[in-house]
């Protein structure tokens, strides 16, 4: 019997949401179906690929077709429901947030178990890269200024989640499961609050040209 873990359900939800965001933005730029699929895949797996290259890990999606199939489901979903997607925006925002939280935790844990040993701040960075870099690659592909650096707090939520993980794991001595749950919850809460109250970081302006 195939057993499906809670993490796998979250991974499916997150991958789906990330891929859909890529497919929608690429379609708005007149990418064809294949191009939209590629941008969806890059959004979903780009961050983890970057992380695995930097850590010297085997790249995660190259041994498991799960992620490419998820992205194909995302493409079919967009094709089937594209006129309804706007009304599903709240759901997709929630799924995207779950993905951001899970991918952050995954990035941290992959660093802690990497072949080489790294200081904990590297794990925090790898968590943020796993969560947020896919969206940056997406925006580079569709030739837009990366959104996550200009709108509500996004990658910073990953960094703060990573710091919370470090406090739980190294200072309070919690295990990886509890630390991961608390880290992920922090990311989700920060992101929900940021969007609900329109919280964003200040920009640096005022330099005379």
């Amino acid at each position: 019997m195939i057993e499906i873990t809670f993490t796998q359900v979250l991974d499916f939800i997150g991958t789906l949401a990330f891929a859909i965001s890529g497919i929608r933005l690429a379609s708005a730029k007149q990418f064809d179906l294949f191009g939209a699929y590629v941008v969806g895949v890059v959004t979903a797996i780009g961050g983890g690929t970057m992380r695995d290259l930097m850590l010297g890990n085997q790249i995660f999606w190259m041994t498991n077709s799960f992620y490419l199939i998820c992205s194909a489901i995302a493409l079919l979903w967009v094709i089937a429901f594209r006129r309804l997607l706007v009304r599903q925006n709240n759901t997709w925002f929630l799924f995207d947030t779950i993905g951001l939280a899970l991918f952050t935790v995954t990035g941290i844990e992959k660093t802690l178990t990497a072949p080489a040993e790294y200081p904990f701040w590297v794990a925090i960075i790898m968590g943020a890269i796993t969560g947020a870099a896919g969206g940056v690659f997406r925006d580079v592909f569709i030739n837009e200024v990366p959104l996550i650096f200009r709108k509500e707090i996004y990658a910073l939520a990953c960094v703060i989640g990573g710091m919370v993980y470090g406090v739980c794991y190294h200072l309070l001595g919690l295990d990886t499961i509890s630390s991961g749950l608390i880290c992920g919850s922090t990311v989700i809460i920060m992101r929900l609050l940021a969007v609900k109250y329109g919280l964003h970081l200040p920009t640096l302006k005022g330099e005379p040209e």
Copy 2:
């Protein structure tokens, strides 16, 4: 005596055509000669570099100056014949198609002989990356939306060629040379038909904003 293989001739033709496409597009964006050369190189070797990084291979061009020299020849060609290039468009389109086919086959074969073992669908993806990613990097460099996701079937020809390779090699039991020839021919025929008849994939439109 130096022996030149048929594959090396194709490799020269393909590298030349890819580099020339990068150099021409960069020049149209006012890149200087050095910048145009860099974009030409990236177009020619970017896909294979990405593939080798992902597979954990030694990067192919770092042990063989052939590719950088080809790109330099491409630069000289563009300098010498730039007013005639438009009239050579059919030739360069053909050479580009030959390059696309060869690079696809190369990407598949490098995956089959990589240090780690991968499922065959990874080889298909690596074939498409080797063939098509250089053009994506080129378009990112010159700050344009990647062309291959919007015009006639391009990367999809690599994917279908890769599937044909898999059928020949794994199902029909053909050797790598026959599988490669049939795969490459498929890529070339698909690409020629796509351009002759203006075949392109549909785009996803109609999402209300």
Copy 3:
């Protein structure tokens, strides 16, 4: 007692200058503070990261928090002095040039001591990537056509510096310290002359559309 070497001082100056260039350009594009920091970091360490990935090295900044701290200091500097930065332009140009020279030498030396052995032209390319690729990544992030391929001689200064290193080290038999000093000086002098006299490479124009 902590001993600070001359190289570390130059590394600090160069990292600071590179990060500041990224932070300023990102701020002009309305990036928030976190986004500006990320672009600053990418400008400062992007070239070396690319180099280490290609050479199969451990990535340099993942074992040493120096570079991220430098970039944080750069951010604080821009926040504190942003109205004065324009008047500091000559200083930052000089520091940027020192960084370019040091990073070029570092890239060459990391290639000479890499796990695998490479021909010397690879070291020249790695020097140029270490010096100049961060600025390309910066421009891709902020969605501009890379500046270094259009303005005064920049990456070419790294390449010529690298050739000078090769002459000193391989032909004249000088040690790495002397070769590095002469290479770095060449980069600095070329860059200063290029800006002082507005030297730039020709562009390829005149292709009929």
